[in-house]
Amino acid sequence: MLGISPSMALRFEVLARHNRARASRLTLPHYEALTPLFMPVGTQGTIKGLTNDQLEDLDCQIILGNTYHLALRPGADLLDTIGGLHKFMNWPRALLTDSGGFQMVSLLHLADITEEGVTFQSPVDGKPMLLTPEDSIQIQNKIGADIIMALDDVVKTTTTGPRVEEAMYRTLRWIDRCIAAHSRPHEQNLFGIVQGGLDPQLRDICLEGLVARNLPGYAIGGLAGGEGKDAFWRVVAQCTAGLPEDKPRYVMGIGFPLDIVVCTALGADMYDCVYPTRTARFGSALVSEGVLRLTHAAMATDYRPLDSSCTCMVCKRYTRAYLHTLVTKEAMGSQLVSYHNISHMMQLSRNLHSSILEGRFPE
């Protein structure tokens, strides 16, 4: 068990293991969480129509907010004045913010990465703007989440050539700038992000560099972008092996239940993805057998709940047939499916934690 060191604002205790998998307690400033856990993504801090009470009923422990969107609206200074995103949303549990970099690169026109930071066109007036590591950390300090992410230079896993190496070394240079800019190390945990594409040597260098900085936790980034499954799992395995045992490990952008189970087996603790809520909007429900497409004609006469092993409010009250009639016609339809999908992911998290704890993880 690790005590709280001066540069950390969390405690991470591994409660049980099964081979490389761990069930742990992650104590954060706002909440004591149990891992493995899935974090739903809340863009502005809300999860697609679900109220705080519903999120608590669903057992959401940590919610992810997007720094890019929050900085645009309502803005970092407003959040600072109010006292942080927790207070703004009235969310009593934990929050994590990303660095803003990834969203900019994927959403914005003419976004580009230089040594200084991410350059982009302002979505408001088209003027050239720059997000530096210092800017990202300052904004995240104002938002006030329990965990904040370093600004990294992320490339697609399908990229090859010197760009991958450049990005990895830049990520290491930037972590030092992030650490220097972080003004609230006793209240917010800065996680570093391991980059290096699919190249094991680059990954090793990055791992060494980040571990040497003695950060409160680490993320494995640059995956879930079109690489093959074998490559994906190989990189995760390598990274978890190279990261300290006594700190949380977060694989970014992972949401397919199967991937979460495999990464957990490989020693990871935290996951995030928009997939559960995004797929709900298209009428797809996550169930134990896989994905149920509610728009399918066969659903019209299927009077079973979405998932017979699910105990959520939606599965207790409504049939597939009824939901089929709702999904394309009423906003309530996709709201109910979102609710169930989040419940499914939370149930998965709980199952992973308890099965490792009770020594029956392989099932």
Binding site: T43, Q44, Y318, L326
Partner: protein, 407 residues
């Protein structure tokens, strides 16, 4: 089902309604809107605790006419079980609250034109009662031939005849084990004589109550008052009276003042859609402005959009960041937990949670309005309450949450 009048103030009355299911509540009562059985944006599991009076809903049988939903509701054993709203009153109202206006098209002997889930079509008696029986509502409205006030005399007379015949036909098709749950429709829009005739005919039928139709279709407010009066004068005092198509606060007050017990209203939802929060005061703290204001209701500028004229711009550039709730002291879920600035930002980011939070508050506030109405009747001060309310409405009673509040 039992309905007992408990108190009166003028023609307004407070009643207690006890349904066959055992559910009991006080009237005048608001019926909350549902679509396909569920609230439009309020999470269904939150409905029970939304407000002490949040127990009664309307639904439109016309959405349940076709498969797959027709089969699904039959298989579920009714709309309560389908939507998991056992413990609620579900009242079937033929007119689609959120749908298009009634145009007074030609109707045959067999059915009239309604807005259904597959567009506008003729709905016949057999089909209507098949759906009503499958849904098993606590109360249901007989199939109306509802026309607006401007149709020719002949068409109006025909609508009265149809409505009366269809009432008898519906009664003959209702399932005996459900007992007496029919609200017989009263029409007659264009003519006070026809209105009286329609009411007289319905009054002699063995029904649980009556549903007054043909309102909220652009009629003159004073005319509406006469029609309500004339119809209700012919109806027995001890039976329920429902009106559809009237939903704004002024309309509610006019209807209650004439003796109406149940209204389904989309007013809260209309405000929510416009990013408005209902904020009007509910207590007569403000003294009467004109003690001798006459009995006529104030002209309501555009019945269908009355609310938008009452907008108050509390643009917070003057006040800074507003961390107060929508209505200070309001005990709804939204006001106990969230601030104006937060809801404002949700709206500006197009987050659906904004609609949910606003609708919860607006519904709560409207249920409080109905409660205030009942209290005023019990204290025999309904007239004063109505006069006070309509006089202070001039100064604006809603808050526009979509306006930016940060300087």
């Amino acid at each position: 089902m039992e309905f007992t009048v408990r108190a009166c103030s003028g023609h307004g009355r407070v009643g207690s309604l006890r349904l066959a299911s055992g559910l009991e509540f006080e009237t005048p009562s608001l019926l909350m809107i549902t679509r396909r059985g569920l609230p439009v944006v309020i999470p269904p599991e939150m409905l029970m605790d939304l407000h002490p009076d949040s127990r009664a809903c309307q639904f439109t049988p016309m959405h349940f006419l076709e498969d797959p939903l027709a089969a699904v509701v039959a298989k579920a054993g009714g709309v309560h079980k389908l939507a998991s709203l056992t413990g609620f009153a579900m009242v079937a109202v033929a007119r689609d609250s959120l749908g298009n206006e009634i145009a007074g098209e030609e109707a045959s002997n067999l059915g009239a034109s309604f807005e259904t889930s597959s567009g506008r079509r003729i709905v016949g008696l057999e089909k209507y009662m098949e759906v009503v029986n499958a849904c098993k509502p606590d109360l249901w409205v007989s199939l109306p031939d509802e026309v607006p006030h401007w149709v020719p005399e002949k068409r109006n007379r025909e609508s009265v005849d149809h409505t009366s015949q269809w009432l008898d036909h519906c009664l003959s098709l209702q399932h005996a084990e459900h007992g007496n749950r029919c609200l017989g429709v009263v029409v007659g829009a264009g003519s006070l004589e026809e209105r009286a005739r329609s009411a007289e005919q319905a009054a002699t039928r063995n029904v649980a109550g009556f549903s007054l139709a043909g309102f909220g279709l652009g009629e003159d407010v004073a005319q509406r008052g006469f029609h309500l009066e004339v119809a209700i004068a012919k109806l027995p005092n001890d039976k329920l009276r429902h009106v559809c198509g009237l939903g704004s606060p002024e309309e509610v007050l006019q209807a209650v003042g004439a003796g109406i017990d149940l209204l389904d209203s989309t007013y809260p939802y209309m405000l929510t859609k416009e990013c408005l929060a209902m904020t009007f005061p509910l207590k007569m703290e403000v003294p009467l402005r004109n003690a001798d204001r006459d009995m006529q209701p104030t002209p309501d500028h555009g019945v269908a959009s009355g609310f938008s004229l009452a907008k108050v711009n509390l643009r917070s550039a003057t006040y800074g960041i507003d961390e107060t709730p929508l209505v200070t002291g309001c005990k709804c879920y939204t006001c106990k937990r969230h601030t104006k600035v937060y809801i404002n930002q949700l709206l500006n980011s197009n987050e659906t949670l904004a609609q949910t939070l606003l609708e919860i508050h607006n519904t709560y506030h409207y249920l409080e309005f109905f409660k205030a109405i009942r209290e005023s009747i019990k204290a025999d001060k309904f007239h004063e309450f109505r006069t006070w309310f309509t006089s202070q409405r001039v100064f604006g009673m809603t808050y526009d949450v979509s306006e930016s509040f940060v300087a």
